[in-house]
C-alpha cells in the first residue's frame, strides 16, 4: 500500500485529541528526529492507521477503531506538542 502523510489523518487526529494536530511537532522516540505531524509517513489501512517516522521508519502512532472507539498507541513518540 502506498504511503501517505499526516495530512491524511487530520480528521482522525482532531477526533482523538480534540484539536488540530497536523501542525503539531512530534519527536521520534527511536531516532530523535522532530517534525510536523503532517510530514510523518502514514499507512491508512495497515490494518488500522499506522504513523511512521520519516527519518528512521519506526512506528510512532497506531490508531485502531474498535466498535466506534478509537484505540490509540503513542509509545513510539518521545514528545508530541506545539512548536
Amino acid at each position: 500500500m502506498e504511503a501517505l502523510d499526516g495530512n491524511a489523518i487530520g480528521g482522525l487526529l482532531q477526533e482523538v485529541f480534540g484539536t488540530e494536530m497536523t501542525n503539531a511537532t512530534g519527536m521520534c522516540g527511536t531516532c530523535g528526529a522532530a517534525g510536523p505531524v503532517a510530514e510523518c509517513v502514514v499507512y491508512l489501512r495497515a490494518p488500522g492507521t499506522v504513523v511512521r517516522c520519516r527519518n528512521c521508519g519506526y512506528v510512532l502512532m497506531v490508531f485502531v477503531k474498535v466498535r466506534d472507539m478509537n484505540c490509540v498507541d503513542l509509545r513510539g513518540l518521545a514528545t508530541l506538542g506545539r512548536g
Partner: protein
C-alpha cells in the same frame, strides 16, 4: 450538531450538493451548501462519509478547492476501482445530501497576511485542488506576492481548472508540464517534473519562497527532495501526499 458544536471538535454534518462542474472527462467539482460551516483556510481539506444501506461506510478526505468565503467545493477524480469516487463523480446529483466534517488541517495552509515570501506552488494531477484555493485566496485578499505554479498533468485535456489557470495574471505565472501526451505544436514542458525543470521554474531559495507541493506520493517526494536540493529549507516546503492517485484520505480520486 445544530449550532452546538464544541469549538475544535469535529462533527459530522449533512451538506447539500448545489452545483456539479465537470472539469475534465474524469474529474468533477462538487459545490456544497454546508449549513454549519465554520469557514476554512486555503489548503485545508474535509472528510466525506458515504454509508451504504447495510451500514457499511467509507470515509475519504478531499481538499477544499474553493477559497475561504466561497461556497465549499471539492474536486474529485474518478478512479474506476474506487469505492467512493465513482459515486461522487457519476451518480451524485444536485440536491443530493452528503455527510462531511471539516475543515481539517493546520499545516498545509496558506494565509495571505502571514507569509510574504514568494509563493511556489507545485501540483501533480488532482493535487491542484488545494493550490487553486490558495490562488483564489491570494487574488481575493489582494496579495501581490509573486507566485508561480508548476502543474504536471498527463495531457492537456487532463488539466483541471485550465480556463481559470490560463486567465491567471497579476503576478501569477503558470508553467505546465505534460507527462504522457502533448498536443501538436506544444511549446510547454513535456515529461515528469525533474531536477532540471525545478531549477528552471522555481523561485531561487535566496528569495525565501514558501513552497506547497501536492499530488501523488511519488510526485511529492521527487519535488520536495528537488527543492531541498536547490536550497529550500525543509520547513519552507509544505507537502501533501495523495497516494498513487487519490485524496489525502487515501487512494480514491480525492484531491
Amino acid at each position: 450538531m445544530e449550532g452546538t458544536a464544541v469549538r475544535g471538535r469535529l462533527t459530522w454534518q449533512v451538506a447539500t450538493v448545489s452545483q456539479l462542474i465537470d472539469e475534465t472527462p474524469s474529474v468533477r467539482t462538487i459545490v456544497l451548501q454546508v449549513p454549519d460551516w465554520a469557514g476554512h483556510r486555503a489548503g485545508q481539506h474535509l472528510d466525506v462519509r458515504l454509508t451504504a444501506e447495510d451500514g457499511y461506510s467509507a470515509e475519504r478526505s478531499y481538499s477544499i478547492a474553493s477559497a475561504p468565503g466561497e461556497p465549499v467545493a471539492i474536486t474529485v477524480e474518478r478512479l474506476d476501482d474506487g469505492e467512493v469516487s465513482p459515486y461522487l463523480t457519476g451518480e451524485l446529483q444536485v440536491g443530493d445530501e452528503l455527510e462531511l466534517r471539516g475543515p481539517i488541517g493546520g499545516y498545509f495552509v496558506w494565509d495571505a497576511d502571514h507569509d510574504r515570501g514568494p509563493l511556489m506552488l507545485l501540483a501533480g494531477g488532482s493535487g491542484i485542488a488545494p493550490l487553486r484555493s490558495i490562488l483564489r485566496q491570494r487574488e481575493h485578499s489582494g496579495s501581490m506576492v509573486p507566485t508561480r505554479l508548476v502543474y504536471s498533468s498527463r495531457s492537456l485535456p487532463d488539466v483541471i481548472y485550465r480556463g481559470e489557470l490560463d486567465r491567471c495574471d497579476g503576478g501569477v505565472e503558470v508553467i505546465y508540464t505534460l507527462t504522457r501526451q502533448q498536443p501538436p505544436g506544444w511549446s510547454g514542458h513535456a515529461g515528469r517534473v525533474d531536477a532540471a525543470l525545478l531549477a528552471e521554474a522555481t523561485w531561487p531559495a535566496s528569495q525565501d519562497p514558501i513552497a506547497f507541493v501536492c499530488g501523488p506520493t511519488s510526485f511529492v517526494e521527487t519535488v520536495a527532495e528537488g527543492l531541498v536540493g536547490l536550497g529550500y529549507p525543509a520547513r519552507r516546503v509544505k507537502t501533501e501526499r495523495f497516494g498513487a492517485t487519490g485524496g489525502p484520505g487515501g487512494p480514491d480520486g480525492g484531491t
